[in-house]
């Protein structure tokens, strides 16, 4: 290797040497005496210079070591600065635990892409902090596919996500309440729009993404439409609320009773506290009475009428009463109509087909979980069906596949818990992945409530601070180096920090989320507003 290249390549600061370890457990690094353990932080990147390879690893633990056990029984007199200076780094020293993740052949790795590490560096290899160039080598630079999401801890380098890869699979954003999930999701969505990686359909529970959102601690931040006005359409279920907030909407969504299938009701069993029999009854009614069953059913009001209905339909009275109680309140929400004025799904598809991103605001009804689950499931089912038909047709005709669609849902455990994941459309989408070019972006604060199979199918997981053991386990299930990442995850700061791992990043990374909210950040993010997707061939009809 020429001196010139060596000098040109910026090397990180030396931290210490590898003293022991294994590939599965990670390697132990003895810190150099002049490096203080206090300056270390889990989640940081380090590089290890092997003889023929250069390894990239993540710092997962910091510990203290002593040359002899008796030191802890008779500690040296460190109140004397001279003695303190002497013993630090010699008799007592700091240790780092590093999980090697990637390796590149050649000590500089200029020519080659990093590959997953299949071995460990030899004894006494030098360990350094990762330099900006190292990070750029791993995560790529901002370009037409790579979107800058944040910076590694204590570094100014940009960590970029490959959005084209990201949208190929379903992804999850997790974190307990108030840790910045919405904030992070907004940035991701802006990224997808900026890089034109996918068309988005967002079920916006708390009206955070369309026109403007709220900031932690008060204040407003721009939503998608303010950045990309020509590419975003805001649909609403609650016109009045949108108007009050001063949001101009493109379409007011109404759901007809006839659009609601028994499947939609079955997934609400927990939320509406329906018995199994009651949920089953919905299927029977549908079979007997066709599309109009629900209208007829909810219009019966008095106890007597319901009892009469039970008799007429040959069902148990309690079952009918249970079902009626569950549905009655829900169907009274103003956007449920006996017959919708216009087919919402069709309108959404029209927009999506033109490459426009649709944000569906729930207005005041976002807090009604049952309504959110029902509407999201119902619309997504039909949209997915159309995408599926379209993809199959495009395969048959050798035409271009539809532009990838990403459906964003919040409170995902309501759709994807083990009891209903097999029935909801979201479970299907998460499992069949990218086959039909429709993927999910799920946002949730209780990942332990999500079906394991669905979790295992998520491509990339972005997780803010989680504290509950079960949630941490659920997020990290099946990830290599899980126990190490655990300590990283549990030590994230409560805001603006996230751990990203999975398909779209070559190795797990802890980021400080990029800034969002200042004029400059808006300028950078708004860049690249563009043309809608060209409609090559009408495959919808």
């Amino acid at each position: 290797m020429s001196e010139e290249i060596l000098n040109a390549y910026e090397q990180g600061k030396r931290l210490g040497i590898v003293v022991e370890g294994s590939l599965s457990q990670g390697v132990e690094v003895k810190l150099d005496p002049e490096i203080s353990v206090e300056d270390m932080a889990v989640g940081r990147y380090v590089t290890i210079d092997g003889k023929n390879r250069r390894f990239f690893g993540i710092l997962t633990d910091v510990s203290l070591g002593a040359i002899d056990r008796s030191l802890s029984i008779t500690p040296p007199d460190v109140s004397d600065p001279f003695i303190a200076k002497v013993v630090s780094g010699t008799s007592v020293y700091g240790k780092l635990h590093v999980l090697p993740m990637l390796a590149v052949a050649g000590i500089l790795g200029i020519d080659e892409k990093p590959q997953p590490a299949k071995t460990v560096p030899p004894h006494f290899s030098t360990v350094r902090t990762a330099s900006d160039e190292d990070i750029a080598l791993i995560f790529g630079r901002e370009d037409e596919h790579h979107f800058y999401v944040g910076n590694p801890l204590d570094m100014e380098t940009k960590v970029c996500l490959n959005l084209a890869e990201l949208v190929k699979r379903s992804n999850g954003v997790f974190g307990k309440s108030g840790t910045g999930k919405t904030f992070l999701t907004r940035i991701l969505l802006v990224g997808m729009l900026q890089k034109n990686a996918a068309t988005n359909l967002i079920f916006d529970m708390h009206n955070e993404y369309g026109w403007e959102g709220t900031k932690e601690g008060g204040g407003k931040v721009k939503g998608l439409k303010q950045h990309f006005s020509s590419q975003v359409a805001v649909f609403t279920l609650d016109e009045e609320s949108s108007r009050r907030r001063g949001v101009s909407t493109d379409f007011v969504v109404e759901i007809g009773y006839d659009e609601i299938e028994p499947e939609d009701i079955e997934i609400l069993r927990d939320t509406l506290k329906l018995t199994e029999r009651a949920a089953q009854a919905a299927y029977r009614f549908r079979r007997r009475l066709g599309g109009s069953w629900l209208e007829k059913f909810v219009n019966e009001e008095s106890r007597d009428e319901i009892n009469a209905l039970a008799k007429e339909w040959d069902e148990h009275e309690a079952t009918i009463a249970n079902l009626h109680r569950g549905l009655e309140g829900l169907m009274r929400l103003p956007f449920f109509k006996p017959k919708a004025r216009e087919d919402s799904v069709r309108r959404i598809l029209e927009y999506l087909d033109r490459g426009l991103n649709v944000v569906l605001e729930f207005g005041r009804y976002g807090d009604n979980i049952a309504a959110y689950v029902l509407v999201a499931n119902l619309l997504s089912r039909r949209i997915h069906q159309r995408y599926r038909e379209r993809t199959e047709r495009s395969l048959g005709e050798g035409a271009q596949k539809p532009h990838p669609l990403v459906i964003t849902i919040e409170e995902a455990h309501k759709f994807l818990n083990p009891a209903v994941a097999s029935q909801t459309i979201f479970g299907t989408i998460a499992r069949e992945m990218r086959k039909y070019n429709v993927t999910l972006l799920i946002i949730d604060q209780r990942p332990s409530g999500i079906d394991e199979e669905v979790m295992s199918q998520l491509g990339t997981k972005i997780t803010c601070l989680l504290e509950n053991e079960k949630d941490i386990d659920a997020v990290l299930a099946g990830v290599s180096g899980r126990s190490e990442l655990r300590s990283v995850l549990a030590k994230l700061e409560p805001q603006q920090q996230a751990l990203i791992f999975g398909h779209a990043v070559p190795m797990p990374v802890v980021i400080r989320t990029r800034e969002y909210g200042s004029a400059e950040s808006y300028r950078e993010l708004g860049r690249g507003e563009k043309r809608g997707v060209t409609k090559d061939k009408d495959l919808w009809e």
């Binding site: 005496p33 040359i67 002899d68 008796s70 008779t74 040296p76 003695i83 002497v86 013993v87 010699t90």
Partner: protein, 162 residues
């Protein structure tokens, strides 16, 4: 101190000194009753200079050949009747550039060896441009050598403070 004539200078560290009578069978007796100072004792008893002898012992820690310092035992012992010189501060500084001699000191079986280690380092530190840095470096070397004997290490380190 050193001994040799330039071709092979043996370096050693004094670790013991004693003054006694030249005749081992005769013990010195107390003198100087009524004298005002110690000098007066010797002035009044000029024979004492001839009857008493001072001896010292030194631990060989290395040698210099062709200008290069080695920190291990020389190929041959010092000659009989070879002259012995005190090392100059420059020579001490040059020698203490490496602290390898510490391992010889700490493993020697001489009485009060740890006193020797600290005294020797204190003396060597006087010859250094940065006394403090030298002592810290030496202390670190010692803590590696004596890692398993923290009590002993602490005792030496406390004696290094000047």
């Amino acid at each position: 101190m050193k001994t040799g004539e330039g071709e092979l200078d043996i370096l050693a560290i004094v670790h013991n000194a004693s003054t006694r009578s030249i005749d081992p069978t005769r013990r010195p007796i107390a003198r100087g009753e009524g004298e005002l100072s110690e000098e007066d004792v010797f002035a009044r008893n000029p024979q004492l200079e001839k009857l008493l002898r001072t001896e010292f012992q030194a631990l060989v820690v290395g040698y210099v050949r062709d200008g290069a310092h080695r920190f291990y035992l020389p190929p041959r012992p010092a000659r009989l009747h070879a002259f012995v010189y005190l090392c100059e501060p420059e020579e001490i500084q040059e020698f203490s550039r490496s602290l390898d001699f510490l391992s010889i000191l700490t493993t020697s079986r001489i009485a009060s060896g740890d006193e020797l280690v600290s005294a020797c380092l204190r003396l060597a530190s006087e010859a250094q441009p940065d006394k403090e840095a030298f002592l810290v470096t030496a202390g670190k070397e010692l803590s590696l050598l004596l890692g398993r004997e923290p009590q002993r290490l602490n005792a030496i380190l406390r004696r290094l403070r000047t």
